[in-house]
């Protein structure tokens, strides 16, 4: 058996655009258009891209939250895509959502929120359920007194902890974290990131970390994939992506991050302008005739780039 917990092969998710008199399908939006990702057990894979690049759609496809047009998803060697019920497999895959203010049901108490997955999958007595939820709350660092409180009584960071408690309730193997800290202040962000790392080590979790903040991704992930218009343009270890980016789009993305080092500001801006110019002039060469990014090609053991095919 391979060491990869999750394997995505040539995933395509196309959404139909309907219109016209009979509301027929006119065209498709290629939200995800041929993405392949393999995540080794116990590691974190960062999926980065701008809004509309298809990173969230990829995550949702793994969760089974949207229809897959083409391609396969394997989880522990078992096929997730295609027909048939996958309920047994899906208990091992859980999701942490972006906005802790809208991803928790405002009318439910913390107990009901965290207990829901347990009720769905495990037949526990009421007492055992309460005990289990308390154990989970303790694990994410929330006091036992919060059991019967409502989400609005908590701060953003605490709410995200409730979301994490719900996600780890069934001892999952894979966590899909979709922009888990984008809605939080930096100080709270640090709290949640530290804590996610702790939980990951303790529970030997594998994570698909979706984000647009490259600084956060660098801190959290061993492997990073950069998405552009539904396709990966570059993939590699965090070190390769940040210190040796090859694709023009990756270079531009990295150059665009404002640095807090005041000594580097001038140089960064110069570099940014230079790359922007190159991007405006040469980016067409990085796209094929249909305006799509070229297929990834390995340039080292771990580093793959979608460089133009010469000739």
């Amino acid at each position: 058996m391979s060491n990869n917990l999750l394997e995505i092969n040539d995933l395509k998710v196309h959404f139909p655009i309907k219109g016209g008199f009979f509301n027929t399908v006119k065209d498709h939006v290629r939200a995800v258009d041929g993405v392949s990702i393999a995540i080794p057990r116990g590691t974190t894979y960062g999926l980065v891209g701008e809004s509309g690049s298809g990173k969230t759609t990829t995550g949702k496809a793994v969760m089974g939250l949207n229809q897959i047009t083409d391609g396969e998803i394997y989880f522990q060697g078992e096929k997730l895509s295609g027909k048939g019920k996958k309920i047994g497999i899906h208990r091992d895959i859980q999701m942490i959502f972006q906005d802790p203010y809208s991803s928790l049901n405002v009318r439910k108490r913390v107990f009901d929120i965290v207990a829901e997955p347990l009720k769905n999958y495990e037949k526990l007595s009421k007492d055992a359920l309460v005990e289990e939820v308390l154990r989970l709350l303790e694990r994410v660092g929330l006091p036992a007194g919060s059991l019967y409180k409502f989400p609005h009584e908590f701060s953003g960071g605490q709410r995200q902890r409730i979301g994490v408690a719900r996600a780890i309730a069934l001892n999952p193997k894979l966590i899909i974290a979709d922009e888990p800290v984008s809605a939080l202040d930096v100080s709270v962000q640090a709290q949640v990131l530290n804590f996610m790392q702790e939980i990951q080590q303790e529970m030997d979790l594998t994570m698909l970390f979706i984000a647009h903040d490259l600084g956060v991704v660098r801190h959290m992930c061993q492997h990073i994939g950069i998405m552009y218009q539904g396709r990966l343009v570059e993939e590699g270890t965090a070190d390769e992506i940040f210190n040796n980016p090859q694709h023009l789009y990756t270079k531009r993305l990295i150059a665009a991050i404002p640095d807090t080092n005041v000594d580097k500001v001038e140089r960064n801006m110069q570099l940014r302008r230079q790359i922007k110019e190159e991007y405006d002039r040469h980016f067409n060469e990085y796209l094929d005739d249909e305006g799509r990014v070229f297929p990834l090609k390995a340039i080292s053991g771990t580093h793959k780039v979608a460089l133009p095919v010469k000739g």
Binding site: E50, S51, Y101, G141, L142, P143, G145, S146, H152, E153, F154, S155, G156, G157, Q158, D185, V186, S187, V188, Q189, A190, Q191, L193, N194, Q197, E198, H212, L214, G215, V216, R218, H219, R252, L253, A255, A256, I257, P258, D259, T260, N261, V262, V265, N268, M269, R272, K276
Partner: protein, 350 residues
């Protein structure tokens, strides 16, 4: 004597909660010179947006006291009519969310012409061409087509450009930018910041930049004011603030950012949360509950902003012997602080 473009003294803005007024902006004094970018930094709930809205007179149900001198006149003494003349004219604002700042039922050109008409800029016949010129100025390709479009037909970056075009339409002397790039992708953010910088150079305006992104501050600001719980806790020239931060809050904030040097290690966590408006202890140092390992004697009873170097002011004396908490177990303290706050009944910040 230095001429300030804007001088706010002891600005205090209070909101009514359960029949009582609580100050969200508490005795804030800021000065902005011509051609200067002052960044106002802080977490959500620190009062930075409330400060900006108070300057513009946009709070309806709040009690605002203090003085805001702009070109020698106190804005707070103006009535609504006089303020309307200044708003969008000499003082313009760029709002955070371009999705909601524009009117969805109006064509772009009409929204721009509206501000021109109200402030009597240009003749009626010239406004059409000036509108196109403005759109072109903020870097919108094919401005003639965009002028005829409705907001929903444009992307987020384009919409933010339109919001900026409206803000600079009457060549403002002061530009207030409230999180102008928070809703945007990094590459678009870089372009918008470039644009603001360029326009500011061009018009010689002063800019009040409100943001929580310290990277943006490092790139854009001349001076920085850090806000915590409604007060300014530190003011310094940008270089000084990043190279030699003094207030415990500023130092904690800078340390909580993921950085290259910190790879593989734990991020610094500021324990606890920003206190709620109506549950805040207003005596003593407001940051004290979040640095419990610093003894009470280090704090002042009535902390004041004091100048410690030219242009560098710090509130309270607790910065002198402050050290980041590395010896204690983060998780344990954090839980204790949070549990304590929860017992006191709710810490909702929204």
């Amino acid at each position: 004597m230095v001429e300030y473009l804007l001088e706010a003294n002891s600005l205090t803005t209070s909101f009514k909660i359960d029949g009582e007024y609580y100050p969200a902006v508490d005795d804030v004094s800021i000065r902005i010179r011509q051609n200067e970018v002052l960044a106002l930094v802080g977490e959500s709930g620190s009062g930075k947006s409330a400060t900006a809205f108070s300057l513009m007179g946009l709070h309806r149900h709040a009690r605002v006291t203090g003085e805001v001198f702009f070109q020698g006149k106190d804005l707070l003494k103006n009535n609504e009519r006089q303020m309307n003349k200044i708003r969008g004219g000499d003082i313009a604002m760029i709002f955070q969310d371009p999705m909601t700042a524009l009117n969805p039922l109006m064509k772009i050109k009409h929204q721009i012409q509206e501000t021109l008409r109200i402030h009597g800029t240009g003749k009626k016949s010239e406004r059409e061409s000036y509108t196109i010129e403005l759109l072109d100025r903020v870097g919108i390709p094919r401005p003639e087509r965009v002028a005829e479009a409705y907001p929903h037909e444009l992307s987020g970056g384009m919409r933010q450009r339109v919001v900026i075009a409206i803000a600079i339409a009457n060549r403002p002397k002061l530009l207030i930018a409230d999180e102008p790039t928070t809703a945007l992708d990094v590459t678009i953010q870089a372009q918008i910041l470039d644009l603001i910088r360029e326009l500011q150079d061009d018009l010689g305006s002063g800019v009040l930049l409100i943001t929580h992104d310290l990277g943006v501050v490092a790139e854009m600001a001349d001076r920085v004011a850090v806000m915590y719980a409604g007060q300014i806790v530190e003011v310094a020239p940008v270089r000084e603030l990043f190279m030699n931060p003094q207030h415990p809050y500023t130092r904690s904030l800078l340390n909580s950012l993921p950085s290259e040097e910190q790879l593989g290690s734990k991020l610094h966590v500021i324990q606890g949360v920003v206190p709620a408006l109506n549950k805040m202890d207003r005596d003593g140092c407001r940051f004290a509950p979040r640095i419990p390992w610093i003894s009470a004697e280090e704090h002042e009873h009535q902390p004041k902003l004091r100048e410690i170097a030219p242009g560098h002011q710090v509130r309270c004396t607790c910065y002198k012997n402050f050290h980041l908490n590395t010896s204690m177990d983060h998780g344990a303290v954090e839980q204790r602080v949070e549990a304590h706050q929860m017992e006191e009944g709710g810490v909702d910040r929204r």
